[in-house]
């Protein structure tokens, strides 16, 4: 029979004992069973060997049961170990929280600092990610490819409708190829006032090929696009539906007027879909067949064609972006097939052309380019600035981490007594290190959680700052999982980095030093505390220098750009941007309209002169045409095009462009009179080789029918940063069918009253005339500097912040060092040192630290050329003047920061100091 165990079983309430797994235990247990059975059988009369064999047979496969039992034990041991680990981690976490609650000031400062740092980083990253990495919100975006010119270095995606139809037949499935126009601003009226609406024309299969559905009603399909000029339907985007119609489902089926043409609203596109251009939000989609009826004019390239007639049937008008949905694996093969078709067509088209034409046209090749992230001019514009900002804000976070690490170091040395006691009671160092890290991780995670809130607000604010114009950039920055993931990653990294410093200290902790030096530290032999803190501050100062110098360079860039003389008057010109074409005017009605507009504007008090132009300055559209000069052929590879504009005679006066030679346009340059033109200096030099060209002739083709009557000084008509293009001006009277888009007035005096009056005047001429905006020319120019402004502003703020943080860091370290060396200072003073001498001592030490930091910073500046080099203007990224200024600023600020501790050191009462030891 069984016996009771000798001792009562030990019971540990709650926690099971962890079996330190030994193979031996199970083996012993099983062997006991077999031996006991053997003994019993022997007692029943069997021989020993026979009994043993019987016992083993009854038992079964010993090995197997042993293994199975051990497996159960092992699993349990593992679970218990994990549970114990989790429990101790939880304990550390709770302990850290308690510690933070005991010093709420420190906790608040630490968490707040990190929240700002992590939040700022997350905000910038969110935008960078949304712009650069997020794929389109459609099904299998990796299958989306665009047809582009393979022979052009610039991106050229425009094709004619005829080509689209021919290429469709080459595809394995014709519906795999779809086409869309460039975005255009049209005017939608669903009430009284026409409002701008970003519109895109698409083929019947566009939505189907993209697999984008409707959240209300239906989307455009093949039947809507079958017949030219029919298909008067429209699909709203979700954003437009929200903004304009308050998500009213009854809008489906109603009529909306686009550029005056009634369209039936058939549905709303699925939520979150804004088109394929990242950074622009399409408002309306309309079938391609409506192009002519709507008077659509977006990006196009015309050759031998009449843009006033319907575009789709004309081979010479390239205006469509072709998209193919093909699996990436077949892309090359299909691209080859498309290219062969294109070249076959080209051969046919140029069969009867001359050799120059043939050579020119037959250069063309097409290929497929994957566009899983859509198209984005915004991306190009902000790619580099955002990267620079990301780096800057990362540096700021590092500096803030430095401060926090310093604080933690100070705290940990204040608790060194406690640590010493714990070690002597048996705590393992690994455990202590883990506790220190948990503390910093707790702070970091709390900061990160708060930082997410900061980031939400921050990214919205960044988008607003980055927007040039009334509507904020429509980037989807609300993708929560990625945002939270990034913030957590940064938080953990920050926590580990910051915690590393006190953790290193703890792991190298010397018991003897701790117990011996409670309070009294003999000077000279500085324990490994101080250098750690000094190293920290040094790196902070180095990083600050980099940030301050970079900020300075960007600020100077902005200033350089703002003071560029564009070649025309920017302050006293107000521009009204109209869309006459969208209003539906007949070309016969245009001259009368223009006269009325000019008259109404001229009547406004304060207006000195008025003019009209086809394309507005500083960001209006541009028209580029090819020109030939008789007797002169340009070298191969040189462009034969120039930017062209139609203007009224008063234009140059109104906008302040200088006529260098010849005359301006007059009333006698009218329809029927000899055709004239005014060119810019660079155009003259490019085409004629000299700028003395008054009287020379040139034209769009031979024979040349344009006579040059004047030459204007070069002007940056497109943007401040863009060099002056080659310009050709024609008088409006000799191009009477042109639709002007810009009305300029020169004001003498304040601009605001004129702006208001101008708006009324235009309304009076025609209340339904779409008016995009009325802005001073200087505003238009500055809108082109959005990214530079963003960078300058933010880099500047980061620089200031970095400076502040580094100063605080230095102040903290020096202050701490002084308080630890109270004893030493007291002794010095007692032995006759002057307060000034002690001050100098402290100041000198801090200055050495700053100087070391500055030297390190200068070294770090050396590789900072690449990306920043592309962003600066008129100044080098390592501009010596800025570097000197930055260095001086940094040294000055750190000197001030060190002053207070120095002062305190000199005020130490020697008697107190020695006595308190």
């Amino acid at each position: 029979m069984s016996a009771r165990p000798n001792e009562t079983m030990r019971r540990i309430p709650g926690i099971r004992r962890v079996f330190r797994h030994e193979r031996g235990d199970v083996d012993v247990e099983l062997q006991f069973h077999i031996d006991a059975r053997t003994d019993d059988l022997v007692r029943l009369g069997l021989g020993r060997d026979e009994a043993r064999r019987a016992a083993l047979a009854e038992f079964g496969d010993v090995k197997r049961y042993e293994t199975e039992t051990m497996r159960i034990d092992r699993g349990y041991a593992r679970i218990t170990r994990i549970k114990e680990l989790l429990w101790s981690v939880w304990f550390d976490f709770a302990y850290a929280l308690r510690g933070l609650r005991r010093s709420p000031g420190f906790a608040a400062a630490a968490v707040f600092t990190l929240a700002l740092g992590i939040g700022a980083n997350t905000a910038v990253w969110t935008i960078l990610d949304a712009l650069m990495r997020q794929p389109l919100p459609i099904d299998r975006p990796d299958e989306l490819h665009a047809v582009r010119r393979a022979d052009e270095p610039n991106e050229d995606y425009l094709n004619s409708f005829q080509r689209f139809q021919r290429l469709q037949r080459v595809m394995p499935d014709p519906q795999q190829l779809t086409a869309m126009s460039a975005l255009a601003r049209m005017y939608a009226t669903a009430g009284d006032q026409p409002e701008p609406a970003l519109t895109q024309l698409v083929t019947g299969n566009w939505f189907r090929t993209l697999r984008v559905g409707a959240s209300a009603g239906r989307v455009i399909d093949l039947d809507d696009d079958r017949v030219l000029d029919a298909g008067a339907v429209a699909v709203l985007s979700d954003a437009f539906w929200s903004r304009r119609f308050g998500r009213d489902p009854r809008v489906v089926g109603t009529t909306i007027r686009l550029n005056g043409i009634p369209l039936r609203v058939i549905g709303v596109a699925q939520r979150g879909f804004q088109g394929l251009t990242v950074g622009s939000s399409v408002d309306l989609w309309v079938p391609l067949s409506m192009q002519h009826v709507l008077r659509y004019i977006g990006n196009y390239s015309a050759n031998d064609a009449d843009i006033e007639k319907a575009w789709a049937p004309q081979e010479g008008i390239r205006w469509l972006i072709l998209l193919a949905r093909v699996p990436p694996a077949s892309a090359m093969r299909i691209a080859g097939a498309l290219d062969r078709q294109v070249r076959g067509d080209l051969e046919q088209q140029v069969a009867k052309a001359d050799s120059v034409q043939r050579a020119y046209r037959l250069r063309e090749h097409v290929t497929l380019r994957a566009v899983p992230r859509g198209f984005s001019p915004l991306r190009e514009q902000f790619k580099d600035p955002l990267r620079v900002l990301m780096a800057s804000v990362g540096l700021v976070l590092l500096i803030a981490c430095g401060n926090l690490a310093g604080l933690l170091l100070a705290r940990s040395s204040a608790r060194s007594h406690e640590v010493a006691v714990r070690i002597s009671l048996g705590a393992r160092r690994g455990r202590l290190v883990r506790q220190v890290l948990t503390e910093s991780l707790t702070i970091a995670l709390l900061g990160g959680a708060l930082g997410i809130v900061v980031a939400r607000w921050g990214s919205a604010m960044l988008l607003r700052v980055a927007s040039s114009g009334s509507r904020p950039v429509p980037l989807d920055v609300s993708n929560d999982v990625r945002v939270i993931g990034f913030a957590m990653l940064v938080s953990v990294g920050t926590g580990l980095l910051v915690g590393a410093f006190p953790a290193i200290r703890v792991s190298r902790f010397g018991l003897y030093d701790a117990f011996r030096g409670a309070g009294r530290v003999m000077g000279g032999r500085s324990s490994h505390r101080l250098p750690l803190g000094r190293v920290l501050v040094m790196s902070q100062i180095a990083l600050s220098l980099v940030l301050v110098v970079t900020a300075g360079v960007f600020v100077r860039t902005l200033r350089n750009l703002l003071v560029i003389d564009p070649g025309y008057e920017r302050e006293h010109v107000v521009v009204a941007r109209l869309d006459v074409r969208a209003a539906g005017y007949d070309s016969a009605q245009l001259p009368a309209l223009y006269d009325r507009l000019l008259g109404a504007a001229a009547a406004i008090p304060g207006v000195r002169s008025t003019s009209l132009s086809l394309n507005a300055l500083a960001g209006g559209g541009t028209r580029t045409s090819g020109f030939v000069v008789p007797g002169r052929t340009l070298p191969p590879g040189e462009s034969s095009s120039a930017q062209e504009n139609y203007v009224t005679p008063d234009y140059f006066n109104t906008v302040g462009m200088t006529l260098a030679q010849g005359r301006g346009f007059t009333r006698s340059d009218k329809d029927g009179a000899p055709k004239v033109a005014i060119v810019s200096e660079s155009m003259a030099r490019h085409f004629f080789g000299t700028d003395r060209v008054v009287g020379s002739r040139f034209g769009y083709e031979t024979p040349p029918d344009l006579e040059i009557v004047g030459v204007v000084r070069d002007a940056r008509v497109n943007a401040l940063r863009e060099a002056a293009p080659r310009l050709v001006y024609r008088p409006l009277a000799q191009g009477p069918r042109e639709y002007m888009t810009s009305l300029e007035v020169r004001v003498a005096g304040p601009r605001e009253p004129v702006t208001a009056s101008l708006r009324n005047a235009i309304r009076q001429v025609d209340p339904m005339l779409p008016l995009r905006d009325i802005v001073p020319l200087s505003d238009l120019l500055e809108r082109g500097l959005t990214s530079e402004r963003l960078v300058a502003r933010l880099a500047g703020s980061f620089g200031v912040l970095a400076l502040l943080l580094a100063a605080i860091g230095l102040y903290g370290v020096m202050g701490y060092s002084v308080s630890r060396r109270t004893n030493e200072m007291g002794v010095r003073l007692a032995l006759g040192a002057s307060p000034g001498g002690v001050r100098l001592l402290v100041l000198r030490e801090s200055l050495m630290t700053s100087a070391a930091g500055v030297a390190l910073g200068l070294a770090l500046l050396l590789p900072v050329q690449g990306v920043t080099g592309r962003l600066v203007y008129g100044v080098s990224p390592r501009d010596p003047a800025t570097v000197v200024l930055g260095t001086t600023l940094l040294l000055a600020v750190t000197a001030v920061a060190a002053f207070v501790p120095a002062w305190r050191a000199s005020r130490i009462d020697p008697v107190d100091a020695i006595r308190s030891a």
């Binding site: 009771r4 165990p5 000798n6 079983m9 247990e29 496969d61 039992t69 159960i72």
Partner: protein
């Protein structure tokens, strides 16, 4: 009558019941089960040990090393409070089960 195969759940029940008569080592448990059931079950006695260790992990029994009656080192098991409760529950279930089956098998 041939021997019956034993289900795992039933083995657990038998072990718990056996241990309710007092702490004992694995061999005693095996012997008692064999005696009380008149050897009706054919089980390899080794199968007891995975079951015992599993029951311990689940918290129904606990173990400790001790000395057997002839002073050999052996592992002793006993029921925990939870194990006692679990035993009561399983016995009740078993009784309900057998009653239901018997009810169906009863001559109509």
């Amino acid at each position: 009558m041939g021997t019956l195969d034993l289900l795992q759940g039933t083995l657990d029940l038998l072990i718990l019941k056996t241990l309710s008569w007092g702490p004992m080592h694995g061999y005693s448990v095996a012997r008692l089960i064999r005696e009380r059931s008149d050897g009706a079950f054919l089980i390899e006695e080794g199968a007891l040990y995975p079951a015992l260790h599993r029951l311990e992990r689940q918290g129904w029994i606990e173990s400790d090393w001790g000395l057997s009656e002839n002073n050999r080192k052996a592992k002793f098991y006993q029921l925990t409070a939870r194990g006692r409760a679990q035993l009561r529950a399983e016995v009740a279930t078993w009784q309900r089960y057998t009653k239901a089956v018997a009810g169906v098998l009863e001559p109509a």
